[in-house]
């Protein structure tokens, strides 16, 4: 584990700076009250601020600086804003106020949203690779590697079948294999460690370690304190959208475990 004292010998190069970051979601049709058509109509007719829209303040004024070579864990109870914070760092969610500065383009590990269940695994590998910004040549080069890693073809020629015919474990394995095929500068992993059977979990943990080595900075969201302890030297603890604690893994986890009553 990298202690700050050992790091100060070399220059610490910041890769991600969050400055008083606020994220607000706007949810339509969730305004408390009657959900009937007449109620909706009266909302439209009534003057006022945004009608029929409820605001959810998911991240409230978070500031931190992450440095090159750091692996930062994000912990906090469900709905505390961890995934939202990751998306904002990646520039996928616009900030309500405040800013995030990054070195290069941080990427979330995951391509689920780009894949289509009605297409064959083969075409999904290509589509997913292109969606992550790989070139056609890169996809072609990595194709066999991805298929082999997923182990989809271990039980016969499944890669040429539509993904909707896969078992949920198989689909998860293929999705992880596609997502993990690309190297990233700033890598963000959102509870991606636990997919597939025991054998595949081992293999994917290894792959994540490899990706971590190549990446400049890693963010990991997980509810598994052990995997945080294994991978991260620093932990940010979010609660209700606020940064409750920021420090070395052991200290923060100790407080967090006290808080959750373990």
């Amino acid at each position: 584990m990298a202690e700050p004292s050992t790091e100060q010998q070399g220059e610490r190069i910041p890769t991600v700076i969050a400055d008083e970051l606020h994220i607000v979601y706007r949810v339509h049709g969730a305004k408390t009250g009657k959900g009937s058509a007449t109620a909706a109509l009266s909302r439209i007719l009534k003057r006022g601020e945004e009608r029929g829209v409820r605001k959810v303040h998911a991240v409230k004024g978070v500031s931190f600086v992450a440095y090159r070579g750091e692996a930062v864990g994000l912990i906090g109870s469900n709905g505390s804003g961890k995934s939202t914070l990751l998306r904002a760092i990646a520039g996928l969610l616009p900030a309500e106020s405040g800013k995030v500065y990054t070195n290069g383009q941080p990427s979330l590990l995951g391509v689920n949203a780009a894949l289509m269940n009605d297409l064959t695994g083969e075409r999904n590998v290509i589509l997913g690779g292109l969606a992550m910004g790989m070139s056609r040549e890169q996809v072609r080069e990595r194709y066999q590697e991805i298929v082999d890693f997923s182990g989809i073809n271990e039980k016969g020629d499944f890669i040429t079948l539509p993904m909707r015919t896969y078992s949920s474990g198989m689909a998860a394995r293929l999705r992880f294999s596609i997502a993990a095929a690309k190297d990233h500068d700033v890598l963000m992993i959102d509870e991606a460690l636990a997919t597939g059977d025991r054998k595949f979990q081992k293999r994917s943990e290894e792959r994540i370690r490899e990706l971590r080595k190549k990446a400049g900075t890693v963010f990991l969201v997980s509810h598994n304190n052990n995997s945080i302890r294994d991978t991260c030297d620093r932990v940010l603890w979010l609660e209700r959208g606020e940064l409750r604690m920021d420090g070395p893994t052991d200290e923060v986890l100790k407080e967090y475990e006290k808080f959750t009553g373990k």
Partner: protein, 309 residues
């Protein structure tokens, strides 16, 4: 690390980094960090989009294939759907309503089918455009790519869909005596211009639909009104013969009417240049350029906000 902690750190006395005490923006500038998710310049945006051309193509083809992948007849529906559409319109307007005022029957049937297909091309591009962002928010919030890839990809999907419909259209035209000749080559520029127009419109609708998803409910009515005003099942000059000329001109110069008329002119032997409004090619090109460029810039202006939903 905020500036307020500065003094405490100094008090500790240990090696103090020169970065201590810098504000976030100064620190970012010092190490060349950029604001995450900021909108790129227009030129940079075009370049990024060009880099993603393979993704745009693959996405549109994937959507097209996925559409019929659960059907037993599979991709045969690509051709069967427009064929059935043409048959229904022929039955209602050709046999029952006899709407072919002023047009001989062997012109009217291909006239009608061309109109339906060409209008459907624009209509489905608009409808796909409205949902391009709002219906793919999961994708927008998970991966980085220029967001214009989505509406452009959907417009491209509709173009590929139309190319299948063209097979049916060629058969209908040939079946009613308009055999292939040199004028059929005009189909290529007409389709290209209409595609540009549709893409621009899809980009505009995508931004509007991202902000106001209700448009998905409203647009079918707008599109139906537009369809009846564009002369899909009737000839505008014949229908409006007793109305002032400017009214017919205005209707005929509307983009979908222009592209329909040009397509009919290219395909159908009995539909000559006398049916076209003045300056038809200039108007066709003007609409395409106006919407493609305007729509692109309009969409780009909100690029950093699409993730908000």
């Amino acid at each position: 690390m905020s500036e307020t902690t500065h003094d405490d750190r100094v008090a500790l006395g240990a090696a103090v980094s020169p970065d201590e005490g810098l504000t976030a923006s100064r620190l970012a500038a010092r190490y060349g960090l950029t604001v995450s998710g900021a909108r790129p310049s227009l030129a940079e945006y075009v370049r990024q989009l060009w880099d993603r051309r393979h993704f745009i193509m693959a996405f549109s083809r994937a959507k097209l294939t996925a559409q019929y992948s659960q059907a037993k007849l599979g991709q045969l529906w690509q051709v069967a759907t427009p064929l059935l559409n043409a048959a229904v319109y022929f039955f209602i307007f050709g046999l029952i309503l006899k709407a072919n005022r002023g047009l001989p029957r062997d012109v009217y049937i291909p006239f009608l089918v061309t109109g339906v297909f060409v209008f459907t091309f624009t209509q489905s591009s608009v409808m796909a455009g409205v949902r391009a962002i709002s219906g793919n928010l999961g994708l927008v919030r998970a991966l980085h790519f220029p967001r214009a890839s989505l509406p452009i990809s959907f417009a491209l999907q509709q173009l590929q869909q139309l190319l299948f419909s063209m097979i049916v259209l060629f058969a209908v035209a040939a079946g009613f005596g308009s055999l292939p000749d040199l004028s059929w080559l005009l189909i290529v520029p007409v389709l290209a211009l209409q595609f540009l127009f549709n893409t621009g419109l899809a980009l505009i609708m995508a931004r509007a639909g991202a902000k106001t998803p209700d448009l998905a409910q409203l647009m079918p009515f707008v599109m139906r009104t537009w369809m009846y005003a564009s002369g899909v099942m009737f000839s505008i000059p014949v229908m409006l013969a007793d109305k002032p000329q400017w009214l017919a001109n205005v209707l005929q110069w509307n983009p979908t009417a222009i592209y329909m008329d040009l397509m009919r002119f290219a395909l159908i032997d009995g539909y000559g240049a006398e049916n076209l409004p003045d300056h038809v090619w200039a108007v066709a090109g003007g609409w395409a350029a106006l919407f493609a460029l305007g729509g692109f810039v309009y969409f780009w202006k909100a690029e950093e906000r699409y993730g908000r939903g």
